[in-house]
Amino acid sequence: MAQTDTTEHVGLARVLGPAHVWALGVGIVLVGEYMGWNFAVGKGGAYAALMACWFAGILYTCVAMIDSEVTSTVAAAGGQYTQAKHIVGPLMAFNVGLYLVFAYTMLEAANAITVGFLVDTVATMSGHEGGLDQRPFIILAIMFLAWLNYRGVLATLTFNLVITAIAFTAIIILFLSTSGILGVGEMNHAALMSGQAAMPYGWLGVLAAMHFGLWYYLGIEGTTQAAEEVRSPARALPFGTLAGVMTLAIAATLTWYVCAGLMPWEYLGQSGVPLFDAARLSGSTFLMVLLGIGTLFATLASANGCINDASRAWFAMGRDKYLPGWFGAVHPKYRTPYRAIIFLVPIALIFALGAPLDQVITFSILSGLLEYTFMPLNIILFRRKWPLDTIKRGYEHPFHPLPAMVLLGLCGLAFFAVFLGYGTQLVAMIVFYIVVSLWFHFWRYRFVNRGAQFTMPWPKPRGY
């Protein structure tokens, strides 16, 4: 092997700012406003979807606050995996790392499937006959974004910033155009949400809607994966994450308002692309094209962010030898975790081309939910082992331990809601994580860099 190294060391490039962090978090999530959230309407009606929206908003505000505090201190790639490693222990870290990789890779596959569906829809609308082969467009979405991620994080997240901003602006323009602020108002909430339509399945419907309420925000915690690549983690991560969750709360509420005011709940609850349908109902060609572009951009931004986050988690686990150390390599020119990016491409392709969309999404949500359940335990242990006067934090979240307790309670409720609709998948997923935990404990842990993995210059934890 040729030895042409000019340096003996290579690491990830620290080039990102708060706007990139925002673009990473919001970019992953915004597709949930364009599609998916509306299944909550199908479960319990429009009011149930609004309650789910704000209920999930509280859950994710807790997630963002907790994440911001811990990540501004544990500023390393791997996000919650690295947090778990330093604060809880190796087995928890291994599980959290897998939650992250599964949640993001499955979401990436779901987004690629959606790209194929969108291209097919446009082809049909433009008069193409005989159906379209969606596979080349699904593969192209994954390959293009993998290539972009491979070539460097700055270009990747700048691309995300641009397309996410366009997708978010499209929602604002749709709201302004249809609500009566600009032009004639077309909202019809009173007629569409009265009588039986108000809460068609009562409070049980509200509970069942919670599952899909997560869609409004699912993935905002992914901002932590940029920790090792931002110029100022202590400032950029809390700022980007908290600005992101506020952006999503606004986008979610506006999305609900526009869609619930234009479509009856029976239709909205089954729509594949509710915001695009709302634009079509407005009768404006401009809005239809804008929201069509917004849907495509939101989908691409989500897949792009997912590749970024899944590869960082896989890379960090490889670097610590939780997985083969081969995955812990950094590209000397592009400064990206290139082997982790390459390894996850075929996995995303297999799921995108071979698995049904609803199953792929369900496994993504379940992995995310397991990750959120870990967070309150993590922050409680963090504050107990390293109280505020022992480690300087970039951000200290208020009212501790109230957000942790609220998050834990909401996670329990969300698990119950998921169990109502996807009990088998939930049990299968938990069995899977138990099996891989046994494998890690009895086999893989012997290869872990036990001494080298704890890198934070912290004092000894209280009580040890």
Binding site: M1, A2, Q3, T4, D5, E8, H9, V10, G11, L12, R14, T73, A75, A76, A77, G78, T82, A123, S126, H128, L132, D133, P136, F137, I139, L140, M143, F144, A146, W147, Y150, E228, S232, P233, A234, R319, D320, W326, G328, A329, V330, H331, P332, K333, Y338, R339, I342, V345, D389, T390, I391, K392, G394, A452, Q453, T455, M456, P457, W458, P459
Partner: protein
């Protein structure tokens, strides 16, 4: 063959190009640099608050 049939073929071709670029660069990188250098990244070396992490 209409525009969409052409776009299908273009998508296959572009996917192959992106894949080819990644694989060629991957092989070239792995054969040019030593494994020790490629895996030399260490967590915490970029820690932002290293010198300020202890308050008391």
């Amino acid at each position: 063959m209409d525009l969409w049939d052409v776009l299908e073929l273009a998508a296959w071709g572009a996917s192959a190009l992106f894949g080819l670029f990644i694989v060629i660069d991957w092989i070239r990188t792995d054969s040019t640099y030593s494994e020790d250098m490629l895996t030399s990244s260490r967590e915490g070396e970029l820690e932002a608050m290293t010198e300020e992490s202890h308050r008391g």
